[in-house]
């Protein structure tokens, strides 16, 4: 089958999946729905379940697109905002914004994503400058730097927890990730960042393809590599910051979704980016719906659930690498 046909089929399948899962997620929950809806049911449906579903889709999409960007940047399919420590950096920034008790606003934007962006950018810049010893970003250096930077920022967040123990539940939320606080306000925070960053990344799809050939080759084909890489770091940080500032640090979506999409339609970013965004959204929506109903009436933090799936998946990819498989996708 031609790649283009496969791509169209995949998009159609993903859109259908999102629609069906969305309907299921709307109807599932402690309050049963009956038609016609009374005002209480309508409130549950439109002010709780619907924004939560949209938020899960958007955060999943943002994380998957950020994952694609990082994987292109490091030329490595193991790169992911969570593994690289970017999410921990963003979570730390968001925590500071929340606990300094401010409702600071810059140009009508809430301070939380801005602080999260600062943390994400700092973490990514650190890992990126450490993780590329020599000419090629080395796998070991990237992973080790990611672990160190992630641990550092998590420790900083824990330190805040230590000083503000009365806010325990909220901090745990940042660290584990979840959608329990999802309302329309959160949807409005994420949407412009996700939309802008996604369109911008998509417009750079061809450049991202060149980068996969290696920095030297990309340069020879006319790409100003250093400048381009800085733009990618910024864009990915915006996406992670937007996602983390509304849902905390949710791991591995950014690795799993692009990996599956590449297996199906190949590495071309022009189709990889939109398909991964949809796949990431669907993945996180499924995970969040499961998190709501698995241990009903108790709700699992969705970050715990994605790490349950993502951890073994990461090990599986690592074992492929150990066997020296060079043809990833």
């Amino acid at each position: 089958m031609k790649t283009k046909t496969k791509y169209r089929l995949l998009l159609a399948g993903l859109i259908m999946g999102v629609g069906l899962t969305g309907l299921a997620a709307l109807s599932l929950g402690p309050v049963p729905l009956s038609f016609p809806l009374d005002s209480f049911q309508a409130k549950i449906l439109f002010d709780l379940r619907l924004p939560r579903i949209l938020l899960a889709l958007m955060v999943g999409a943002a994380l998957a697109v950020a994952g694609v960007l990082f994987q292109g940047l490091f030329r490595n399919p193991l790169a992911d905002p969570y593994v690289l420590g970017t999410s921990s950096g963003a979570a730390f920034g968001a925590t500071i914004a929340v606990f300094s008790g401010m409702n600071l606003r810059f140009f009508g934007l809430s301070a939380r994503p801005l602080f999260a962006f600062g943390g994400a950018l700092l973490a990514t810049a650190l890992v990126y400058s450490l993780g590329r010893s020599g000419r090629r970003p080395a796998l070991t250096m990237m992973l080790l730097a990611g672990i160190a930077v992630g641990a550092f920022f998590s420790a900083m967040t824990s330190l805040l927890l230590f000083f503000r123990q009365q806010e325990l539940a909220k901090i745990m939320f940042w660290m584990m990730g979840g959608f329990a606080y999802a309302r329309w306000a959160e949807v409005r925070i994420v949407l412009p960042y996700l939309g802008g960053a996604f369109l911008y990344s998509w417009s750079l799809a061809r450049q991202l393809n060149l980068l996969l050939l290696g920095e030297e080759k990309a340069h020879q084909l006319g790409l100003a590599v250093g400048d381009f890489q800085r733009r990618i770091v910024m864009t990915a940080s915006v996406l992670v910051a937007a996602a983390v500032s509304v849902s905390g640090a949710i791991g591995f979506v950014g690795m799993v979704a692009p990996h599956i999409v590449r297996l199906l339609i190949g590495p071309d970013h022009r189709s990889l980016l939109p398909a991964s965004a949809l796949a990431g959204g669907l993945l996180l929506l499924v995970a969040d719906t499961l998190a709501r109903i698995l241990l009903y009436p108790v709700e699992l933090p969705v970050g715990v659930l994605t790490s349950f799936i993502g951890g073994p998946f990461f090990l599986y990819l690592l074992s492929l690498l150990q066997k020296g498989r060079s043809d990833w996708y």
Binding site: R75, R206, L210, L212, L223, G266, P267, S326, W328, Y329
Partner: protein
């Protein structure tokens, strides 16, 4: 006759404090095959990188087609200069056609797709390099020689007027080597292309190049016609091997025969030193 395509004046390059290239002066004439030879570590690859703007010269000036190289934008440069690196691999499974199409990058607009013209150029480049039948294969599954030809196809898809190659034939067998060199020679004749290539194999350089630049320890030791540059004393001084120059039987180009200089005396001395040191 047009002026030189490349003019290099006083070019020096250092990695930190380690000088790699020192005060190079040469020109590359437009059209024709120019070769760069020299032992490992003599700065051949670094020189090529300075010439395609991958490394900024520490001192000196490079003029490409009458313009200062430093002032030419990368994208514009990529329409004029195609580069084939010595070694290249990617873990991402693009098809051969996709990789060759990336050679059109400097011509494509941001949101626009490939035009009919781009597809035609890509097909021609692939047919010329004998990679058309590989079009739908994955680059991750190619042999070294196939990958090299795909890279040349990609560089040709840039429709450059100058093609730079860094040891283009190191992974090829003898048949593929001659085919690539013949292809380059044909492109020079039919399209007025200029080829600048680093050669490890001196006999290949002697056979195909009209001009040679011979480097030793980051300096130009000799330059000019292969017959003059690849003289027995030059090769002995630069590579440290004894050399007899003969004629290659097919078309009478110079052909070199090598032998290590007689070192019996010195190696005996060294052995004696080592044994005395152990006592």
């Amino acid at each position: 006759m047009a002026g030189p395509i490349l003019a290099v004046e006083g070019l020096s390059f250092s990695f930190g404090k380690r000088p790699v290239l020192a005060d190079l002066n040469f020109t590359v004439p437009t059209g024709g095959f120019t070769g760069i030879v020299g032992p490992n570590g003599s700065g051949k690859t670094t020189l090529l990188k300075c010439l395609n703007k991958a490394l900024p010269p520490t001192r000196g000036r490079i003029t490409f087609m009458g313009q200062d190289l430093a002032g030419i934008k990368l994208r514009a440069l990529a329409r004029q200069i195609g580069v084939v690196p010595q070694q290249w691999e990617t873990p991402f499974a693009f098809t051969v056609r996709e990789v060759v199409m990336m050679g059109r990058f400097p011509y494509l607009r941001r949101w626009a797709g490939a035009r009919q013209e781009d597809r035609a150029v890509v097909e021609e480049a692939m047919r010329a390099t004998n990679t058309w039948m590989l079009a739908d294969r994955l680059v991750t599954e190619l042999s070294g020689g196939e990958r090299q030809r795909v890279l040349i196809a990609q560089a040709l898809a840039q429709t450059p007027c100058l093609l730079m190659l860094d040891e283009p034939t190191s992974y090829l067998d003898v048949n593929q080597t001659l085919e690539i060199c013949t292809l380059l020679t044909n492109l020079i004749r039919t399209k007025g292309l200029t080829v600048l290539a680093v050669f490890h194999d001196l006999n290949l350089a002697a056979r195909y190049c009209q001009r040679l630049i011979m480097l030793k320890e980051g300096r130009i030791y000799a330059q000019g016609a292969p017959e003059a540059v690849l003289s027995s004393p030059n090769v002995t001084a630069v590579f440290g091997v004894e050399t007899v120059v003969g004629a290659e039987p097919f078309n009478g180009r110079p052909h070199l025969y090598f032998s290590l200089p007689q070192r019996k005396e010195r190696s005996t001395n060294r052995r004696q030193e080592r044994s005395s040191g152990a006592e």
